[in-house]
Symmetry: C2
Subunit: 147 residues, 2 copies
DNA sequence: TTAAAAAAAGATAAAAAGGTCTTTTATTAT
DNA sequence: ATAATAAAAGACCTTTTTATCTTTTTTTAA
């Protein structure tokens, strides 16, 4: 469905949303340990996220990652779009050049409604709204707390 | 979304459903040319489909691929399951060990309804029903007829 | 019964995704 | 100023996916 990098990225951003702030930044090390994700790989992903301005960072001691105000209003679709490209949802399910209702592939009308709706869901809910829900209902981001 | 092999496989099976029969079998060559898919790669995929009894074949002159009665009642989900594995839909969207409503990840309730429904759609409609619809409405499987 | 046709099988190669390691740059506290 | 810290950058390695090539087996028709 999504690339592993993309999955890691979503979980990381949510973890940062939940646990970091401009005063208490969080490093790659902590994130990679808590989420059980390979450190160097995650570091690359975080760099990408930072360059794309989906998360913020500062170097040096007391440095790390956090979400500034703009970052907080981003949504999950922004992350998917950055990591895997929006075509993962917008493109034709069977890989034909364009997904076009005027020129539909055999499964177009089977999948199109879902593609639309799921993109909507991931666009309309901000990272912070997700974080609030996680805090409220105790959803897990890590493998550890499942057992 | 799906692997390229899986997409090729679905399109090929539909093409065979539409154009082949036990009397008029179709070879890899024709399928690869019409669908614009690399011949040797497609040959491998067809072997897999044959071994899994999703399509039928005979060797030698006048040989080729076709769908027997059992094959015709198969569905798209069978193909996806063979090529990519059912976890592509059943597994957790964020890659956590198990997708379990009792222990949901942050996006579980956002995506779970879609996963269920789309699997249903692809399970409940047989290959031949898809073929009939294609014949009726003129859906395209190839890139050529789009322009 | 032989030659041609076509799938099956298996070995190999190229490209992409996933993952690691090393060096550089920026920041902060001492 | 200096040492320590942590991200940024870039080179590198491994595995999986995608694709190709070659040989073998089966079948049919002449
Ligand atoms: S044309 Fe294939 S999904 Fe829309
Ligand atoms: S637990 Fe993640 S999608 Fe169900």
């Amino acid at each position: 469905m999504l690339s592993t990098g993309c999955k890691y990225a979503i979980r990381s951003v949510l973890y940062i949303a939940l646990n970091a702030s401009e005063e208490k930044k969080i490093g790659v090390k902590e994130v990679s340990e808590v989420l059980e994700v390979p450190f160097p790989f995650l570091a690359k992903l975080m760099q990408q996220l930072t360059k794309a301005k989906l998360i913020s960072s500062t170097k040096g001691p007391k440095g790390g990652f956090y979400l500034n105000e703009q970052d907080q209003s981003r949504n999950v679709l922004d992350i998917i779009n950055l990591m895997d490209g929006i075509d993962k949802f917008q493109g034709c399910f069977l890989g034909l050049s364009k997904c076009d209702p005027a020129n539909p592939c055999p499964v177009h009308f089977t999948v199109a409604p879902f593609k639309e709706e799921i993109m909507g869901k991931f666009r309309d809910k901000s990272i912070m709204e997700f974080a609030a829900e996680i805090r409220l209902t105790g959803r897990h981001i890590t493998l550890k707390d499942i057992v």
